[in-house]
């Protein structure tokens, strides 16, 4: 009998494959899986949230004490004007029973406006200052009210919460702060389809109230100019949830053509107190903040 110990060739019990190949396949696979999972969760969360009755949404909104923090009651005339327009638009958009939209005025330079849960819409002074006439203001308000009408804020919040629960479950993180962030309510992201839906509703409302669409597209021009000023251009379209401003302007005139609505017509001026309310408020605010410093 003979005892030998010949050398066994390598790579029988180990694979010849480069480890980075396995790694990249797995990494791409998990990213795809993660994306699919996130989209599914976001969609499911949005769908579930849209089943929440509006009355419950108001209760959720009250949990955050939205109005206490933000309300600016030093421009009562302006707030009342915004509210009266809001009520008029709400009627024109035929909001469901029990859905009440509250307009808020925020004394800040930000050129923006947003809608959040509980039927609250917020207008920044920065944007209000740039509006040339009532028709444009109504377009803006209609757009935000349409968000409320179509339940976009609660859908977006629902998606956000479900996705963050999913991520927390996956990473094993114990993020107990899922519902606790008030900041989240002001940066709710609406999808492009939501923005488009609201734009269309805004066009309809504008026509219903004034009989023509003049002044509507100017709202998007304001955003467009602002972005050009900031130098951001439109190159970030991929990352932005809002459709391109130019597309929105075009979209507006497309609606006009399809429906046969006039794009020209008499513009309604803003009331006399509008500018002065914004201006005086501005100065008073500056004095106030200077005083407190």
């Amino acid at each position: 009998m003979e005892y030998k110990n010949p050398h066994i060739p390598e790579n029988i019990n180990t694979s010849k494959e480069h480890p980075l190949k396995d790694f990249s396949i797995l990494l791409i696979g998990s990213i795809v899986l993660l994306l699919i999972g996130t989209v599914t969760l976001a969609f499911g969360g949005g769908w579930l949230a849209s089943k929440i009755p509006f009355s419950a949404e108001i209760k959720i909104a009250n949990m955050y004490d939205l109005s206490d923090d933000t309300d600016d009651d030093s421009a009562p005339e302006l707030t009342a004007y915004l509210q009266s327009l809001t009520d008029k638009i709400s009627e024109a958009q035929k909001l469901p029973d029990g859905m009440k939209v509250t307009a808020h005025y925020l004394d800040d330079n930000t050129v923006n406006a947003f809608a959040t849960i509980g039927g609250h819409i917020f207008m920044y002074r920065g944007l209000l200052e740039k509006l040339p006439n009532e028709n444009t203001l109504v377009t803006l308000l209609s757009h935000e009210i349409a968000h409320v009408k179509y339940r976009h804020p609660i859908k977006s919040l629902g998606s956000g919460i479900i996705v963050s629960i999913g991520i927390a479950a996956l990473t094993g993180g114990t993020d107990s702060n899922i519902m606790g962030e008030t900041g989240m309510l002001t940066v709710l992201k609406f999808g492009r389809d939501m923005e488009q839906q609201s734009d269309e509703a805004a066009a309809q409302t504008l026509y219903a109230l004034y009989g023509h669409l003049n002044g509507g597209a100017e709202l998007f021009e304001i955003f467009h100019n602002m972005r050009e000023e900031m130098g951001a251009g439109e190159s970030y379209e991929m990352f932005s949830t809002h459709p391109l401003d130019e597309d929105r302007i075009e979209n507006f005139s497309t609606i006009a053509k399809i429906e046969g609505w006039e794009e020209i017509g008499e513009l309604t001026p803003l009331p006399d107190f509008y500018r002065s309310a914004l201006k005086s408020r501005d100065r008073a605010h500056q004095k106030l903040s200077a005083g407190t410093k």
């Binding site: 009998m1 005892y3 030998k4 110990n5 010949p6 050398h7 390598e10 019990n13 180990t14 694979s15 494959e17 480890p19 980075l20 396995d22 790694f23 797995l26 990494l27 696979g29 998990s30 899986l33």
Partner: protein, 149 residues
Amino acid sequence: MYELILTVVLVSLGYIFGRRAESKHYKSIIMREKEMNTLPAMASRRPPSDGHYDQALVSGSVVIANDYFKSFVAGLRNLFGGQMRSYETLLDRARREAVLRMKQEAKTLGAEAIFNVKYETSNISGQTRKKMPVIEVHAYGTALTKYGI
């Protein structure tokens, strides 16, 4: 974001150093295996019936840990299932190293062959997901030395 950067850094460090250590280890294993070729190790329990031998229990063990890159790949692999290639080399190295250490011990005894070799593999890191696997391989057998030399 901070965590992501940390993970990327750890994975790339794990890859660079782990790969370097692995190829170094393999070189040394292959070299020593050639040296030890004269001392065969067998799983058989029956020693040759001719002649008389001195018997001695010899063993070699090694504890080896995975690098971060391999653990990361294994974690992803756990999601999809299938062959865990990143562990293959780890275990292969550990087993061959354990046998080499056992043979080294037998050689100092002047043994001719090792019979009834058995392996014992144990995970000594605990079962929690977060812990990196630490694996011990223990190889043992009976070394036979020619009687009366």
